[in-house]
C-alpha cells in the first residue's frame, strides 16, 4: 500500500502509515524515547528537545515527537551523542527549576524527577541565573508556582486547544519566557474556569490544587466538631491509582475504611446526593417539558462548566437547571434533615467533600451555596489530597478491609454512580424522567447512545408519545459548540448534559495525575468509566426514584421534588460573571 512508509529505527525495519511520527513508530517496535513536553493528542511541539534523535543525512538532531516518518529514513535513538545531548538539555532545564523536590506536591510523581533519575543526574553542570517568579494562589482552586515551570506548554495546549479557553499562554521571550495570563493577572481574575485540566497536564509541580487538608486535619482533631465526609462517584474509580493499584479499580470499600480510620464521624456517599439531584433535575425537566419552560434545559453539576456559562453565555443562564450539584445538595441535607434527625447542632457540623474536581473548591464558597448563615459544604478536598492524607496517616491502603458507607444515607443507586462519567447524568435523569412522564416501567435502561468518548453525543429518546432530543457534551470546547447552536437558535434539543472535563468527572482536575507515558499506554478515561458502569450494572437499584433513601427523604422531609422546601435547600441561582477583572 502506498500509504505505508518503511523506515529503520535502531537497526529494526518498521512499516507505519504515512503521517506517523518517529516517536510513535519507535513505540510500535518497543523502542522507548524519553519525552517531556509531549502529551498524547494534546501537545506535540518539539520544544523541550528531550526526545531528540539522530537521522542519517541530517545535520542536527531532530525532535521525534514532531518529525514524521519518511521512506527509507534511518533513525538512531540511543547513540552516545544523542544521550549526551539529552543529558545536557535536561541539565539546562534543571538549572532553571526550583529543585525543592522534597517539599513539592509532585515529589514521587514528577516527570522531570523521573528523567533526572533515568539520566543519573548527580549534580547541575550548568548552574546559573534563575528566572524570578512568584506564586499565584489567589484563586480558590488552582495554585501556580512559576519557579517550577519548565515551559513545556502542556497546560497551554490543554487550556487553548482542548478546552478552548485560552486563559494562559506564553509571554515574554528568551530566558524571560513564562506562562502568563492576560495582563499577568491571577487566574482568579481572568477567564479561567477552574476546570483544573492544566494541573493534570503539568509534568511538574508548577500547577497544583489549592490544598485544603490542613483545615480538615484541624477539624478532625477538634472533638467538638462533628466531621462528616462524602465522596463523589468518580473518586472511587481512581483513588487506588495513588497507591499503585490498577487503573479503574473500584476502591469504594477500602476508601470508606480509610476515611473512618482518619477519624471522620460519618462517611457518606455523594452518589446519594446524585440520586437527589436526579429527583430534582428530572422533575425540573418534566415541568419545563410539559409546561413550556426554557428548553433545552442544561445540567448544572459541573462547577467549571457553570463558571464557563456565567462568563461566556450569561444571556443563556435560564437554560441552566437550578439544581445545586450533588455534593452541595447533600451538604445542605446533612445540615438540615440529618442534623435534625440525629439531634446534631448544624453549626458544629463540618462537611467535607472528596471530589475529583478543583472547581468544586470554588463552587463551595459561592455566595449561593449557603443555607442561612451556614455553608452547605465546609471544605472540598480532591482525590489527590485524600490520598495524601491517607499516606500521612500511615494507612496501608491496599491492605484495608472493605467497609460500607454509613446509613441511612448509604444506599445509593447505580444511577448515582454513573454521574461521574460523561453521559451519566443524562442517562440517570432519563431513567427517572421516562418513568415520571409515562408512568410505565423502563425496560431498556442502558442508554448506550449517550456513552462513550465522542465529544458531542446526540440521541432521540422516545418517552411516551414524545420524542425527546438530548445532547451530551464534555470538554468546554464541545460545550461552546452546543452553546453557539443554542444561541443561534439551531439547537432542537430539549435536554443537554455538559461536563467541563473531557471524559467527565473521572478525568477531573482533582484526579490522580498520570504521566505522559501512562497516558500514551492506557486509555485511562475508558478504564475509569468502565469502573463506574460496572458499579451501576451490579447495583440492585439502578433508578434514583426507586431508591429507598430518596423515598424516605421525600416522605419525611422534602415532600416532593420541586417543593418549597426542596427549592430552599437544593436549588440555586446563577449570575453573569466578568471574564476579566483587570
Amino acid at each position: 500500500m502506498s500509504d505505508l512508509v518503511k523506515l529503520n529505527i535502531d537497526g529494526i525495519d518498521v512499516e507505519v502509515p504515512k503521517g506517523t511520527t518517529v516517536l510513535q513508530a519507535a513505540k510500535q517496535i518497543n523502542i522507548d524515547i524519553p519525552t517531556l513536553c509531549y502529551l498524547k493528542e494534546i501537545n506535540a511541539i518539539g520544544d523541550c528537545r528531550i526526545c531528540i534523535v539522530e537521522i542519517e543525512g541530517r545535520r542536527g538532531f531532530v525532535a521525534s515527537c514532531i518529525q514524521q516518518v519518511e521512506e527509507g529514513m534511518k533513525v538512531h535513538t540511543n547513540t552516545k551523542n544523542v544521550v549526551e545531548a539529552r543529558k545536557i538539555i535536561l541539565d539546562l532545564i534543571l538549572s532553571n527549576h526550583n529543585r525543592d523536590c522534597l517539599t513539592c506536591v509532585r515529589n514521587g510523581n514528577c516527570e522531570l524527577q523521573t528523567l533526572a533519575m533515568k539520566f543519573n543526574v548527580k549534580g547541575i553542570e550548568f548552574e546559573g541565573a534563575k528566572t524570578e517568579h512568584k506564586i499565584d494562589d489567589l484563586s480558590p482552586s488552582i495554585v501556580r508556582d512559576f519557579s517550577k515551570c519548565i515551559l513545556c506548554r502542556r497546560c497551554v495546549s490543554t487550556c487553548k486547544n482542548v478546552q478552548k479557553i485560552g486563559a494562559i499562554d506564553c509571554a515574554q521571550r528568551g530566558f524571560e519566557s513564562c506562562i502568563s495570563t492576560v495582563g499577568n493577572k491571577s487566574l482568579n481574575n481572568v477567564n479561567c474556569t477552574f476546570c483544573g485540566q492544566c494541573i493534570t497536564a503539568c509534568p511538574v509541580g508548577a500547577l497544583r490544587e489549592k490544598d485544603s487538608t490542613d483545615i480538615v486535619w484541624e477539624k478532625l482533631k477538634d472533638e467538638d466538631t462533628f466531621v462528616v465526609v462524602q465522596t463523589a462517584p468518580a473518586v472511587r474509580a481512581a483513588l487506588g491509582e495513588e497507591f499503585g493499584m490498577k487503573i479503574g479499580t473500584n476502591v469504594a470499600g477500602k476508601m470508606v475504611t480509610a476515611l473512618k480510620k482518619l477519624g471522620f464521624d460519618k462517611v457518606f456517599d455523594t452518589n446519594t446526593g446524585a440520586d437527589l439531584t436526579i429527583m430534582e433535575e428530572a422533575n425540573e425537566f418534566v415541568e419545563r417539558f410539559k409546561n413550556g419552560g426554557t428548553l433545552p434545559m442544561i445540567t448544572s453539576c459541573s462547577p467549571g462548566w457553570v463558571r464557563f456559562i456565567e462568563m461566556n453565555y450569561p444571556e443563556l443562564l435560564d437554560h441552566l437547571s437550578t439544581c445545586k450539584s450533588p455534593h452541595q445538595m447533600f451538604g445542605s441535607i446533612l445540615k438540615s434533615y440529618y442534623a435534625e434527625k440525629e439531634k446534631i447542632d448544624p453549626k458544629k457540623m463540618f462537611v467535607v467533600s472528596v471530589m475529583p474536581c478543583v472547581a468544586k473548591k470554588f463552587e463551595r464558597q459561592r455566595e449561593e451555596m449557603k443555607n442561612g448563615e451556614l455553608d452547605d459544604v465546609d471544605a472540598v478536598i480532591t482525590t489527590r489530597e485524600l490520598a495524601r492524607m491517607i499516606k500521612q496517616a500511615n494507612i496501608e491502603f491496599t491492605q484495608l478491609e472493605d467497609s460500607s458507607f454509613d446509613d441511612p444515607m448509604g444506599e445509593a443507586t447505580g444511577a448515582g454512580a454513573i454521574f461521574g462519567v460523561t453521559g451519566g447524568v443524562m442517562e440517570a435523569a432519563l431513567r427517572t424522567a421516562y418513568e415520571t412522564i409515562t408512568g410505565k416501567e423502563l425496560k431498556e435502561i442502558d442508554f448506550e447512545s449517550v456513552r462513550g468518548k465522542k465529544g458531542i453525543k446526540k440521541a432521540t429518546i422516545k418517552i411516551g408519545d414524545a420524542d425527546v432530543k438530548v445532547a451530551v457534551a464534555h470538554g468546554l470546547s464541545n460545550a461552546r459548540k452546543i452553546m453557539d447552536e443554542i444561541k443561534e437558535g439551531k439547537a432542537d434539543y430539549q435536554f443537554v448534559e455538559i461536563m467541563a472535563c473531557p471524559g467527565g468527572c473521572i478525568m477531573g482536575g482533582g484526579q490522580p495525575i498520570r504521566s505522559s507515558k501512562e497516558r500514551s499506554e492506557y486509555d485511562i478515561r475508558k478504564l475509569r468509566a468502565d469502573c463506574l458502569y460496572d458499579i451501576d450494572e451490579k447495583s440492585t437499584i439502578r433508578k434514583s426514584h426507586e431508591s429507598p433513601v430518596m423515598k424516605k427523604l421525600y416522605k419525611e422531609y422534602l415532600e416532593k421534588p420541586g417543593s418549597h422546601k426542596a427549592h430552599e435547600l437544593l436549588h440555586t441561582s446563577y449570575h453573569k460573571r466578568e471574564k476579566y477583572d483587570l
Binding site: 518539539g46 528537545r49 542536527g60 545531548a85 545536557i88 539546562l92 550548568f126 546559573g128 528568551g174
Partner: protein, 163 residues
Amino acid sequence: MDDTKCMVNLAKFYLGFTVDESCGKCTPCRIGTKRMLEILEKITEGEATLEDLERLETLAKTIQKASVCGLGQTAPNPILSTIKYFKDEYLAHINNKKCPAKECKALLSLSINSEKCKKCGLCAKNCPVGAIKGDREHGYEIDENICIKCGACQKNCHFSAIS
C-alpha cells in the same frame, strides 16, 4: 578589526544579541544561550577555569545541533570559531587573568609610571570615584580597591604616564 579587539569580548557581544533575540521556545536556545553568555562573562572577568572553557565548548556544540531554528543553531558559532582560531586569548584570560587586547576591564590594572609622571594632578581631578590619592609634591597613586577601570585618568594624562 585588529589586535585591539578582544575575541572573547567579541563572542560575548554576539551572544548578548542571541540571548536577547531568542524566542524562548526550545530549551537549548532559551536556557543554553544564557548559560553560554554567563560563562563568557566569567572568562572576561577573570574568574573562569579551564573546566569552564571545556563546558562552554560542549554546551555550544550541543546547542548547535539540538536547537529548533537557525537562531539557536548558529548562536554558538562566534564562540566555537573564536575558540578555534584564538584559543590563546581565552587561555590568557583564564590562566594569566589578562586580556591581551586590553579590552576586558575587569582584567585591566592601571598604574602610574612615576618616571613619566609630572605630578600635575589631572588624573586625580578627573577620576570619577576618587581612586587616585596623592599631591603635587609627592606624586599620585591609584588605589585598585576603589578604581573602576573606566580609563578616565589614562585619557586625561598628557604624558602617557598611566597604563
